[in-house]
């Protein structure tokens, strides 16, 4: 019996203590009609040896090609120390730190995490994480609606330059709460939010404006102007940003005259493996004045009976286990272990390390764009500044070209035709600091071959 320590003698002794004849008797309150299903579709138990073999084979099948995909998940270097420490039993197998005295390790770590994220975003406070970037944006919108009591419309402007999946998730989550999500179109030339599209709302009540940085198309938004526009109309400004990018780009707290009100995003670039999409974690930071509207757990520093410093979960009255139907969110667990990894990652990289990662990713993406643009028929689609993602236009339909690249061991980028059909044969590419010159050469070689083949076909 895997993971069950009972000997036959133990079972006998325990049943005798309880005063029943067998284990089945302990289930006598469950109607017999409900018991005894054979579980035929569950395979028989295997040992660790057998499952180890299965998983090694399956992981090997998944051997990964060279990655030039970004679009919300990024192939950054993760120091070995991050996961060697994160998977220590004391972090890995601990519960949510409700018993503060027995959880000072996790609690202090989260306090450090909050400090780091607030610092990176130049915002006042951070929560202890949410599920992922997409759901963090949805929660940020719900929070902004709660926080902006002056606005009556529950109208949130959600530009098309925000990650399409984030927009879908937001729609799913806020759908039943009377919130109006409004698309705002982008400038086809610049790949940025279109000021003209925004102007349509100049005179309307707007509860919040979402601004991505960099945006999904890799371009940098004019965050100062957008922030000031929102604030001038009494709207809150929600930033949705890449945390690595914030090491070198103006952080949300510094946007415009007053800074963003809420800044959120996906923490995956901070030491979390891509892992086919999860677990990642969502982060959320905000102005001090909004802290009581922020969802998720928050750790505070306090003192014990003897005056020693200690850490504890605080502001719990916002949460579901206290406020129940009046909670700020139904969120319960966050992504604690991912936060553990991100905190260690941030400590190891520091601000200078993060800057170098961002800058090297930028340099590699520039090199990629330049090299790919030398391939006949390929060109960058936008002319504005970008950090580590960019859109390329191909001379032919993207899907077969990308398939061909994949066959050559290169993940060549994301086909944008489904979400942005108006852009034509466009792909979104990314090169992190891990990509080498040889990788870029492999990319352009494979792209050249694929395009030749496509033109022949």
């Amino acid at each position: 019996m895997p993971f069950i320590p009972h000997t036959e003698q133990d079972v006998r002794d325990m049943l005798a203590t309880i005063g029943v004849g067998d284990v089945a008797a302990l289930f006598d309150e469950i109607p017999a009609s409900l018991q005894g299903h054979a579980l035929e579709r569950v395979p028989p138990q295997v040992g660790e040896m057998e499952i180890t073999r299965v998983m090694h084979e399956r992981a090997r099948r998944d051997d990964q090609p060279v990655c030039f995909l970004g679009a919300g998940a990024y192939d950054h270097h993760i120091p070995a120390a991050v996961w060697e420490l994160t998977t220590r039993g004391e972090y890995y197998s601990a519960y949510t730190p409700y018993q503060a005295e027995a959880s000072q390790g996790t609690l202090q770590l989260v306090y450090e995490y909050q400090s780091m994220m607030a610092g990176l975003m130049a915002m006042d406070v951070s929560n202890a994480s949410l599920y992922d970037g997409a759901s963090a944006l949805a929660e940020a919108i719900l929070m902004a609606v709660r926080a902006n009591r002056r606005s009556k419309t529950k109208r949130v402007l959600l530009p098309r330059t925000v990650h399409p999946r984030y927009r879908q998730v937001t729609e799913t989550i806020v759908r039943n709460q009377g919130i109006e999500l409004v698309d705002v179109d982008y400038d086809r030339k610049a790949g940025r939010l279109d000021p003209k599209a925004l102007a349509a709302w100049d005179e309307e009540d707007v509860t919040a404006l979402v601004v991505p940085q960099p945006n999904f198309l890799g371009q940098l938004e004019d965050v100062d102007a957008l922030t000031d526009w929102a604030h001038a109309r009494g709207a809150l400004l929600i930033a949705v940003v890449n945390p690595i990018a914030m090491a070198v780009l103006q952080p949300p707290g510094d946007w415009g005259e007053a800074g963003a009100d809420v800044a959120c995003g996906d923490g995956q670039p901070l030491g979390i493996p891509m892992s086919s999409g999860g677990p990642h974690f969502g982060f959320m930071t905000c102005r001090q004045s909004h802290v009581r509207q922020m969802p998720g757990r928050i750790v505070g520093r306090t003192v014990d009976m003897e005056g020693r410093e200690g850490y504890t979960l605080t502001l719990q009255p916002r949460e579901q286990h206290i406020r129940r139907s009046k909670a700020t969110s139904n969120i319960c667990t966050n992504q604690g272990l991912m936060v553990t990894a991100a905190t260690i990652h941030l400590a190891l990289l520091g601000a200078e390390g993060l800057e170098r990662v961002a800058a090297a990713s930028h340099a590699n993406t520039r090199a990629l764009v330049a090299a790919a643009s030398a391939v006949p028929g390929v060109e960058p689609l936008f002319d504005g500044p970008y950090l580590h993602e960019a859109v390329l236009r191909l001379p032919t339909r993207a899907a077969p070209v990308l398939d061909r690249l994949a066959a050559d061991g290169v993940l060549g980028g994301l086909d944008l035709s489904a979400d942005y059909p108006e852009l034509g044969n466009a792909i979104l590419v990314c090169a992190t600091e891990k990509r080498t010159e040889a990788d870029v050469q492999a990319y352009t070689r494979a792209l050249t071959d694929a395009l030749k083949l496509a033109q022949r076909a």
Binding site: I30, H37, Q45, E48, S276, G278, P279, V291, D403
Partner: protein
Amino acid sequence: MLIFDAGREGRRAVAQAPAEAAALDDIPAAHRRRQRAALPEVSELQAVRHYTRLSQKNFSIDTHFYPLGSCTMKYNPRACNTLAMLPGFLDRHPLAPEGFGQGMLACLWELQEMLAEVTGMKAVSLAPMAGAQGEFAGVAMIRAYHEARGDHERTEIIVPDAAHGTNPATAVMCGYKVREIATGADGDIDMAALKGALGPQTAGIMLTNPSTVGVFERRIEEVATLVHEAGGLLYYDGANLNAILGKARPGDMGFDVIHMNLHKTFSTPHGGGGPGAGAIGVGPRLAAFRPIPVVGREGDRYRWLDERDLPQTMGRLSAFGGNMGVLLRAYVYARLLGREGMPRVAEFATLNANYLMTRLRAAGFQVAYPARRASHEFIVSLKREAKELGCGAMDFAKRLLDYGFHAPTAYFPLLVPEAFLIEPTETESKEALDGFVDAMIAIREEAKNHPDTVKGAPYTLPVRRLDDVRAAKELDLRWKAAASA
């Protein structure tokens, strides 16, 4: 000491960042960060030492017995971690073609099948990233179902008063009003209250079975019939699934949708508060509304199903497919249990709970539902100790820490005063349970003779009781650099 205190300007873990500081000169200055972020500046050794030492300040399954009711703190097999962290799984980009993920998708598909079978549901989606998201998905599907039928008058979700706080919070998030119904003196639902609450406004009911008071809802089939007759659907909160895993199936009881906390029943790590995974199972009424993506199989190929395959889906819950790494751990665990192992989970979790309840009762502690079997958990009320000795659940909880036991869930469910909700799980040995009983008895003796000792606990941990009021009043939520030149 905070990690920031170990920092010195210019110190770095040099091996971890690119050697060159590449130029950013083509990015306009207006877009560039002006002041470096306040992050720690430490060496690699300092970081490793700091976080190694911090970890030692935690209790955890790997170090302590953790009888935390409703949380199912059981052993997290190490193989689940090791195998889920193979480079081939970790390094896969979520948008990579499915051809590069057949091994991973095979695991997820098989997990879907196993979960459907063991819960008696028709189909499963692994998309929700936590129990609360699974709940949200479940209730949102109930809503989508009624809407798809043009049944727009259903505005209420019924929730027992003892339910987890997430239940009412979720119902509200989905735009429903919450109607609470009372729990009977025997721990079962008050059927009269249920009947009174049901009506054409009823969208559904959210139940845990066994319930949060630790007993199996005996008339569940009658409940299901009543709710279905009223046109509502039944939502099963899988928080307590460990109690019946492989023994009884929510689908057979009449539930239309279930969420499973894989980080409880399927032993993926709690991680100090996540990540979890809140897979949902659905009956025939709701299969079309599952959240996407879902893994499909065609011949021997696996692929993601999305809105093209499930046009009535309630939608997407995350940017990508969910918490894959957690799901891989759950898959390994499910295979290690297999068909034989799953019912044993329920059997031994129940045996441990009933044994512990019997022993504590024999030792003179008051059990909340003495006439009932314990499920995988049970409630002790320390009302008498609080009144007679001045030491209540909080005091016992803190003193238990000194004895090397994590405290049970205290003050939940709310309807039992000075409650200890105790869930030993199947992976603890008889000796561990006996040790816990001994500690409870010893603490009661202390409470009789030296109540201040108990009220002052803990003594042997990194800190003594913390000032929560100050924490909430004088909010100190982040380190700030000392003002300097």
